[in-house]
C-alpha cells in the first residue's frame, strides 16, 4: 500500500506541471512505454502521463491486464480476440509473431500508480473520488503538499474539494509555520474521521506541539471532532434500534392479524417464520443449481415462495387444529405450542439440526458509509424498507379491500357477518393463512441477517408477542409504534447496560407498562374492548 501510495504521490508531482490540453498518444510513445529497458519504459510512461492523453488510461489498463503486444515498431491491444492499434485506437490485424509485453513488479507498480494519478484529475467524478479515497489512506507529509493543493485547485465537486482541503490541513498541522498550524487546526475541527481524532491526539502529545495557542486550537479541534464522532455512534445506535424494530415489526405484523384480529394465540408463529427462512434456503439452492446466472435475484423469488409455503402450512393448521379452538385462547396456546414442537422436529429431520447457510446476494452485501464510524449495511436497510412495504400492504389490504372488510366484519361481529352472507369459516382460514404468510415474509428477512436453524422462531416469539401486547390488540398502528419503540429502547439500553440486562430491563418495563395501561398503547374503545 505505502509503496503504491508513494508512487501515486510521485505521479501527482508530475501531474502538477500538466497542461490541460490533451495530446494524442503516438506510436513512438506507446512503443517506448511497452518495450525496452524498464527504466526507460517508466520514464516514457511518466512523460506520457505528464502530457496527458485521452487514450492513455485505456492503454495503461491494457498493459496491466497483459493485453498489449508488440510487433516490430507497432503496438497492439488485444482484447477479447480483437486487436486494435494502441496509438490510433483503430482496428488492426495482428501481425504474425507479435511479442507479449511482460511486466515485473516494478513496472506493474508504476503502471498502477500512473493509473491512480491519472484518475485524480479525471473528468469523471466517480473516478476522482476513488483516487482521492486512496490518497486519504496514504500517509502524507509536507513534500506532497503541492500536489494536494494542485488537485484541490482543479477539483469542482464540493465534497471532494472539502476532502482535499482537509487532507491539506492534515499535512499542514505538522508544518513548521505556526500560523499554518493554527489555520490547519481550525480546518480539521470540521472533520468526522476517527483518523483525524487520533492525528490531533498525536499532535497534542507533550513533545510534539510546544506553542500554547496552537495547543488550545488543537484541543478545541479535537473536542469538536470527538463530539461529531459521538454523534455517529448515537446515530448508529438509533439505526440498529430501528433495524431491530423493523424485524420485530415484521414478526409482529403476522401476529397482529392472527392474534390481534382473530384472537388466536399462535405459539407456532415463530416456526412459520422458520419455514419461510428454510424456503429461502431451498430457493437459494435451486437458483444455485439451475439458474446460477441470476443467482442474485433469488431473494426476490424467495419472497412469494416463502409467503405461499407458510400460508399453505397456516391454512392446513387452521383447518386441522385451530378452528376447533376458537374462543378458547388458553387451549389454542397449548395446541399451537405442540404444533411448534412438531414443526421444529420436522425441520430437524429434513434439514438436520445444524444451521443452514443462506448467502446474501451481492446487492445486499456491503453498506453505505455515512461517517467513518457509521456504516449502514444494505441488508439492514433493505429489511427496514421491506418491513414498511409489508406494513403498507397489510394496512391497505385490511382497510381497503373486500377481503379486509370481511376480516374486520367477522372480527367485530361474527354472527352478523354470517347473517349477511359472509362465509366466516373461509374468512377464518384465509385470514389465518394470510397471517402465516406474513410470518413467512419475516422469515425471508431474518434469513438475510441471522442464522437459519430449527430454533430460529423461538428467539423471536417472546419479543413479538410483547410487541403485540404492548401495541394493543387489533391495532396495526400500535404494533408499529411498539415494534420500533421496543427495538430502539432495547438498543439504547444495550449501550448502557449490556445485552442481557437491557433485555431484562425491557421486559420489566413492559410488565410495568402493562400495569399502567392493561390494553396496550392504543386501547380499543367501545363495546369490543371487554370481549
Amino acid at each position: 500500500m505505502t509503496v503504491r501510495a508513494h508512487l501515486l504521490l510521485a505521479w501527482l508531482v508530475v501531474l502538477s506541471g500538466l497542461s490541460p490540453a490533451a495530446l494524442a498518444l503516438t506510436t513512438e510513445q506507446a512503443l517506448a512505454i511497452a518495450a525496452g529497458e524498464n527504466d526507460s519504459r517508466i520514464e516514457a510512461l511518466n512523460a506520457a502521463v505528464a502530457r496527458g492523453d485521452d487514450r492513455l488510461p485505456a492503454f495503461v489498463q491494457a498493459m496491466l491486464d497483459d493485453e498489449v503486444k508488440v510487433a516490430g515498431d507497432r503496438v497492439f491491444i488485444v482484447h477479447d480476440g480483437k486487436s486494435t492499434d494502441a496509438a490510433s485506437g483503430a482496428a488492426a490485424a495482428l501481425p504474425e509473431g507479435a511479442d507479449d509485453v511482460t511486466n515485473n513488479n516494478r513496472t506493474r507498480g508504476a503502471l498502477e500508480a500512473a493509473l491512480a494519478g491519472l484518475r485524480v484529475l479525471s473528468p469523471d467524478v466517480g473516478v476522482r473520488r476513488g483516487a482521492v479515497e486512496e490518497l486519504a489512506k496514504a500517509s502524507l507529509d509536507e513534500s506532497s503538499l503541492p500536489l494536494v493543493e494542485k488537485a484541490y485547485a482543479a477539483e469542482t465537486d464540493p465534497g471532494l474539494k472539502r476532502q482535499l482541503e482537509r487532507m491539506r490541513a492534515t499535512i499542514l498541522v505538522s508544518s513548521s509555520d505556526r500560523s499554518k498550524r493554527l489555520a490547519a487546526a481550525a480546518e480539521l475541527a470540521s472533520s468526522n474521521q476517527s483518523a483525524v481524532a487520533s492525528l490531533l491526539q498525536e499532535r497534542l502529545a507533550p513533545d510534539s506541539e510546544s506553542d500554547a495557542e496552537v495547543r488550545i486550537a488543537l484541543q478545541q479541534a479535537l473536542s469538536s471532532v470527538r463530539s461529531r464522532l459521538a454523534w455517529g455512534e448515537r446515530l448508529a445506535v438509533v439505526f440498529t434500534g430501528i433495524s431491530l424494530g423493523s424485524v420485530l415489526l415484521l414478526v409482529a405484523l403476522g401476529l397482529a392479524i392472527t392474534y390481534g384480529l382473530m384472537g388466536v394465540i399462535n405459539m407456532a408463529h415463530g416456526e412459520l417464520m422458520m419455514i419461510g427462512a428454510y424456503t429461502t434456503y431451498v430457493v437459494q439452492n435451486l437458483f444455485r443449481t439451475y439458474l446460477p446466472g441470476v443467482f442474485d435475484a433469488y431473494v426476490l423469488a424467495a419472497i412469494p415462495a416463502a409467503f405461499l409455503v407458510s400460508a399453505g402450512v397456516g391454512a392446513v393448521l387452521e383447518r386441522g387444529v385451530i378452528r376447533f379452538l376458537y374462543g378458547r385462547p388458553l387451549e389454542t396456546l397449548l395446541a399451537t405450542w405442540g404444533i411448534s414442537l412438531v414443526l421444529q422436529q420436522a425441520v430437524r429431520s429434513t434439514f438436520g439440526a445444524q444451521n443452514v447457510p443462506v448467502e446474501n446476494p451481492n446487492w445486499l452485501s456491503g453498506g453505505v458509509e455515512i461517517m467513518s464510524n457509521l456504516v449502514l449495511p444494505f441488508n439492514r436497510i433493505a429489511i427496514i424498507a421491506f418491513a414498511f412495504i409489508v406494513l403498507a400492504g397489510v394496512a391497505l389490504l385490511i382497510a381497503r379491500t373486500r377481503f379486509g372488510l370481511f376480516i374486520r366484519g367477522v372480527t367485530q361481529n361474527r354472527r352478523m357477518a354470517s347473517c349477511v352472507g359472509v362465509d366466516t369459516a373461509k374468512i377464518d382460514m384465509l385470514a389465518f393463512s394470510f397471517g402465516a404468510g406474513i410470518a413467512g415474509l419475516g422469515g425471508v428477512a431474518l434469513s438475510q441477517i441471522g442464522n437459519v436453524g430449527p430454533d430460529l422462531g423461538q428467539s423471536y416469539i417472546v419479543d413479538s408477542f410483547l410487541v403485540v401486547v404492548l401495541g394493543g390488540v387489533g391495532q396495526l398502528a400500535g404494533t408499529v409504534v411498539a415494534g420500533l419503540g421496543l427495538g430502539v429502547l432495547n438498543k439504547l439500553l444495550e449501550g448502557v447496560a449490556g445485552a442481557v440486562l437491557a433485555k431484562i430491563a425491557v421486559l420489566v418495563f413492559i410488565v410495568i407498562f402493562i400495569q399502567r395501561k392493561p390494553s396496550g398503547l392504543f386501547a380499543m374503545k367501545g363495546r369490543s374492548a371487554e370481549a
Partner: protein, 390 residues
Amino acid sequence: MSAVLGSPVAAGTIAPRRGMLLGMRGWAGVTIALAVVAVIVPIANLLVPAGSAFHLSEYAVQLIAKIMCYAMCALAMDLIWGYTGILSLGHGVFFALGGYAMGMYLMRQIGSDGQYRMPMPDFMVFLNWKQFPWHWALSDSFVAQMLLVVLAPGLLAFVFGFFAFRSRIKGVYFSIITQAMTYAMMLLFFRNETGFGGNNGFTDFKRILDVPLQTPSMRMLLFVITGCTLIAFFLMARAIVDSKFGRVLQAIRDAESRVMFTGYDPLRYKLAIWTLSAVMCGIAGALYVPQVGIINPSEMTPAASIEIAIWTAVGGRATLIGPIVGAFFVNGAKSWFTQAFPEIWLYALGAMFIAVTLFLPQGIVGLLRGPNGVVARLRRGLRKEAESVS
C-alpha cells in the same frame, strides 16, 4: 372470557364438603400410596437382591423421585390453572428458584473438595472471585436456605402477582407476561455475573447436612421425603379445593365479574393461591436438585414451564389426581421415548399437546371418570351382562 374450562366440574360438587377430606376409598388410596413410597419402594430397592424380579434399580428410584417432584409442580399448576383459571407459563421459574436455593447450600457443602480444592465453589474460583456475593451470605446455613426455598419463589410470585392481578391482567395476557418473566429470569441466570454458575449451573454435589449424598440410604431417605411431601401436597390441595376459599377460586374461574359483584375481592384470592402455588413449585425444586444432582438455567426456559401445563392437561385439569397421573404419564413416556426413539419424542410431545386440547379437554382422568367415562361404561356393560345372564 366466560368459562375458560367449559366447566369441567360436575354439577353435584358445588357445596363445600364437610368433615372428612376424602371418602373411604380416597383414604385407602392415600394409605396405599404412603405404604408404597415409605415401605415397598425402600424394601424393593435396598433389601431385595439385585437379581430378583422385585428389585427396584437405582435408576428407577431416581426416575420416580424426579417425576414425583414434577407431579408437585403439576399439582401446583392445577390449583392455579385448573381451579382458578389462570394459566401460568412461569412455574418453571419458581421450581428453578427453589432448586437454586437448595443448590447454593449444596455447593457450600462441597467445601474444599471441588476441582480446584478451594473453599469457594468451583465456578467462583474460575471467575476469580475472592469473596461471596451478597446473596450468598447465608448460604452456609441449611435453615436459612430452606427458608429461601420458600421465600424466593414466594416473594417473586407475590410481587409479580400483586401488580398483575391489581391491574386485572387476565387470561392470555397474564400467560404471556408470565412467559416474558420466565424469559427474563432465564437470561438473568445464564449470566455468569449473576452468581449462579452461568449456563453450567450447580452440579457435583457431595454432601447434605455433612452427610454424603451419593449413598443408597441417603437417596432412599430423600425419596421417602419426596413421596411424603407429594402426598401431603395432595391432601393440602384437597383441603383447599373443598374449603370455602377453594369454592371462591372456582367461582373466579367460571365468572370473575360475578364474583366481584357479589362483594368478593378476587385479588386476594388469586394472589393467595398464586403465591402458594409458586411455593409448592419451589419446594418441589428443592427436593429435585439433590436427587437429580444438577440445576441449571435450562429449567427456566419457557418450554420447561409450558411442559408443566401439559402434564396437568394430559392428566386432567380440575381433578387433583389428574396432574399426578399426567406427570407420570408424560415423563414416563419421555424417558422411554428419549431412550428408544429420541427422534420421535418431540413429535409425540407435540401430538400430545394437540390431541389433549382437541380431544381430551378433561385429560386421562376425565376419560376414565364421569358418567361417560371408561369406568362407568365398563360398569354399565358388566351390569348388562349380569342382567342378560340372569
